[in-house]
């Protein structure tokens, strides 16, 4: 609720989000995309935001960097990254933060690259702009980065244009670009979703390895439970713009407590279910322009009861495991 004295204490989190709320307004509707999301992220920690389309996961990620369309979106709450108040920053300060402290990767690498400049030029430019080193030094670092993300014949690839690279290579190049200024936080928005299975696993393992080597914190948005399990330390399950359950990945997989999390896991198909009826969640995801005041999952929940019409409480099952459901209380 109210902002506590920031920082201080034994080990201050890298990211602190409190009551982050995002609305999109148009003439005829208001989309309540993110509703009072609060969390903290420690340095070097990997948090996966897991949710289905329209659950608000990407909007949450973009809100952290204030990347939402300025006129139509309304962002409230409090966001701190490295102890600095993101919502109070000037555009200038924000641009600095985006390159140096925070790197971003997206599902579609073509949006991260300018099609008319070579990959190498874009990476070196970023290094020159943010770190003030000379061009030869920046080129050397760019080459080093491409090697690091395991792009074969990196010297040749530096001169390539984005469209000349295959999908997996482009994704690697984008990771190199995002890491060019050694960020302490990487924001990843479904970076492997468009990739084929054999390429996806390569990119996931690469990210995991780089994250460990560089000690980066990562917030990774995905709709795919399998991907989350491969990469996350902690999972936040999002539904109707809220974090409905957060906890260490092992706990979420072994002992999911929110009915939605359970439904998501039982409806995720795997081979051993062959010949059985899948336990699907009935109904459809909520209309974000008409969210109920209470639990957004209640209309699809088989345990719903009258109490669910009030906003569900956040119940701490343990210091690291939170569930937003009346039944957990």
């Amino acid at each position: 609720m109210h902002n506590p004295a920031h920082a201080g204490t034994a080990r201050s989190p890298l990211v602190r989000a409190e009551d982050v709320t995002v609305r999109f307004e148009s003439r005829d509707a208001t989309v309540q995309a993110v509703n009072s999301v609060s969390f903290t992220l420690d340095p070097g920690e990997v948090l996966c935001i897991l949710g289905e389309s329209g659950s608000g996961k990407s909007v949450t990620l973009r809100a952290l960097m204030r990347l939402l369309p300025p006129r139509r979106s309304f962002l409230t709450g409090r966001i701190e990254i490295g102890g600095r108040d993101v919502l109070a920053m000037s555009e200038r300060a924000l641009a600095d933060l985006r390159g140096t402290e925070v790197g971003m990767i997206f599902q579609e690498p073509m949006v991260a690259f300018d099609p008319v400049y070579s990959v190498g030029r874009q990476i070196t430019e970023t290094i020159v702009r943010h770190e003030g080193v000379g061009r030869p030094e920046a080129t050397r670092r760019a080459l080093d980065l491409l090697e690091r993300v395991r792009i074969p014949s990196p010297a040749r690839r530096l001169r390539a244009y984005p469209h000349e690279l295959s999908g997996g290579m482009r994704q690697r190049a984008m990771i190199a670009l995002a890491l060019s200024c050694r960020p302490s936080l990487l924001l990843a928005d479904e970076p492997t979703t468009a990739l084929d299975a054999t390429v996806q696993i390569q990119i996931l393992l690469l990210l995991r390895e780089l994250q460990r080597e560089l000690g980066m914190a990562v917030i990774f948005v995905t709709h795919d439970v399998g991907v989350a399990v491969e990469i996350a330390d902690r999972i936040a399950v999002m539904y109707g713009g809220r974090f409905v359950e957060t906890g260490p990945v092992g706990q979420i997989m072994r002992d999911p407590r929110h009915p939605y999390t359970r439904g998501l896991l039982t409806s995720t198909v795997h081979g051993s279910l062959r010949g059985t009826l899948l336990e699907a969640i009935p109904g459809s995801p909520p209309d974000m322009t008409r969210l109920p005041p209470g639990c957004a999952f209640a209309p699809r929940c088989r345990y719903a009861e009258p109490r669910c019409e009030a906003p569900p409480p956040a119940v701490d099952l343990s210091p690291r495991h939170m569930v937003r459901c009346v039944r957990a209380a």
Binding site: D196, Q202, G226, V229, E230, R274, A280
Partner: protein, 393 residues
């Protein structure tokens, strides 16, 4: 609001329900039944044009000499990565595009591309559901009209078609009273895909080609639609060709699975053989690229490095040899052909046909044709008589 989105497929099939359909569930009932759909040497190469004269400079060998068959009542899964030719295969089966070569036989009769009446009949019996649920519906028509359209074209009166549409809505789990007057944009993705399934069923087909039909849906909705598809298959005795890049979903749905790589079939067999006793190194890689779902046993090393090669001018010999850790000289020179797995049997009564070098005889032998439920692989290292007698062992 979403109506009973559960797995009810409780509708009854009124008049004309028989549609000559075989009884369902016959999938595992041995290999005696003649195939409903059979394809031999199917080929489609797309030209790549370039240069100032716009000449053909290369070919995409999208589908290259593919053989397959689907038995009545069975679900044949087709898996592979993007560019492997699985969607082109689907379009060729439907005759949406013209094959460069190959023979398609439906229910024992050869389908001829220039026989308009015959094609029309085959298209009635074979319907397709696509990935993009929105673009396969007419945005300006209420969904009821869309569903009535097919039967009307095929000579059913408007009244009967409307009646039929209502039945179909019930069949796919949408309440007619609530939905028939809606437009596609007023539905969720899962509901739209139900409408597409209803549209596909309107002509009482015997075979549905489902091309990534659940891939765009959220997991919770995907499960509903998979349940629906299995219920429909049981009740209506349908046969499916189920195409997907999602190995979990294919395993769940299919009786047999066909694995494609760069326009070629690399392995085909009963689902359990493919998932538990896979033979082709590519199948193996594809399966071990699946995320583990167990945080204590994460994937440690990627099974393959690099991206799939460009399907334009694919590598000679075995198309997988550029990424295969077992690749040998023979793999670079000779194209392996589908043949029974070495030391066949593999659990599923593989009929060990083909012999040592039987695969060489393309026309004479029936080795490739009558493959029953057997497990075939196109790999010099793993198959008996994979061709050319060059393979070791």
């Amino acid at each position: 609001m979403s109506g009973g989105a559960d797995t009810r497929a409780g509708g009854t099939r009124s008049e004309g329900a028989q549609g000559a359909g075989p009884q369902g569930g016959g999938a595992r009932s041995g290999s005696a039944a003649p195939p409903l759909l059979e394809v031999r040497d199917l080929r489609k190469h797309f030209p790549v044009r370039g240069g100032i004269l716009n000449r053909t400079v290369a070919w995409v060998k999208a589908v290259d000499d593919v053989d397959l068959h689907v038995r009545p009542g069975e679900v044949l899964g087709i898996v592979g990565e993007s560019g492997c030719g699985k969607s082109t295969t689907a379009r060729l089966l439907m005759h949406l595009i013209r094959a460069d070569a190959g023979r398609v036989t439906f229910d024992g009769a050869l389908v001829q591309a220039d026989d308009a009446a015959g094609l029309r009949e085959v298209r009635r019996q074979m319907q397709m559901v696509f990935q993009d649920s929105y673009s396969s519906l007419n945005p300006r028509l209420p969904i009821e009209e869309t569903i009535m359209f097919g039967p009307k074209v095929h000579g059913v009166s408007a009244g009967a078609a409307r009646e039929r549409a209502r039945e179909l809505f019930t069949l796919v789990g949408l309440d007619p009273a609530q939905f028939i007057r809606r437009y596609p944009h007023e539905l969720s993705g899962g509901q739209r895909q139900r409408v597409n399934i209803a549209r596909a069923l309107a002509l009482e087909p015997r075979l549905l080609i489902l091309d990534e039909a659940v891939s765009a849906l959220d997991k919770s909705v995907e499960a509903q639609v998979l349940n629906l598809l299995l219920a429909l298959r049981r009740e209506l005795g349908l046969t499916y060709v189920f195409i997907s890049h999602d190995l979990n979903v294919v395993q769940y749905m299919s009786d047999r699975v066909l694995v494609m790589y760069l326009g070629k079939v690399v392995e085909i067999g009963p689902t359990a053989d493919i998932y538990e006793r896979m033979q082709h190194p590519y199948t193996e890689a594809l399966l071990s690229a699946m995320p583990s779902m167990d945080p204590d046993r994460r994937t440690e090393r990627p099974p393959l490095t690099g991206d799939p090669p460009n399907p334009i001018n694919p590598p000679p010999g075995c198309r997988f040899h550029t990424r295969c850790r077992f690749a040998d000289d023979v793999c670079r020179r000779a194209e392996p052909r589908l043949a029974p797995v070495q030391g066949a049997g593999g659990g599923t009564g593989g009929d060990g046909r083909g012999g040592r070098d039987g695969g060489n005889d393309r026309n004479g032998g029936n080795g490739r044709n009558d493959t029953g439920g057997s497990h075939l692989v196109a790999c010099h290292m793993r198959a008996v008589g994979s061709g050319h007698g060059l393979a070791p062992g």
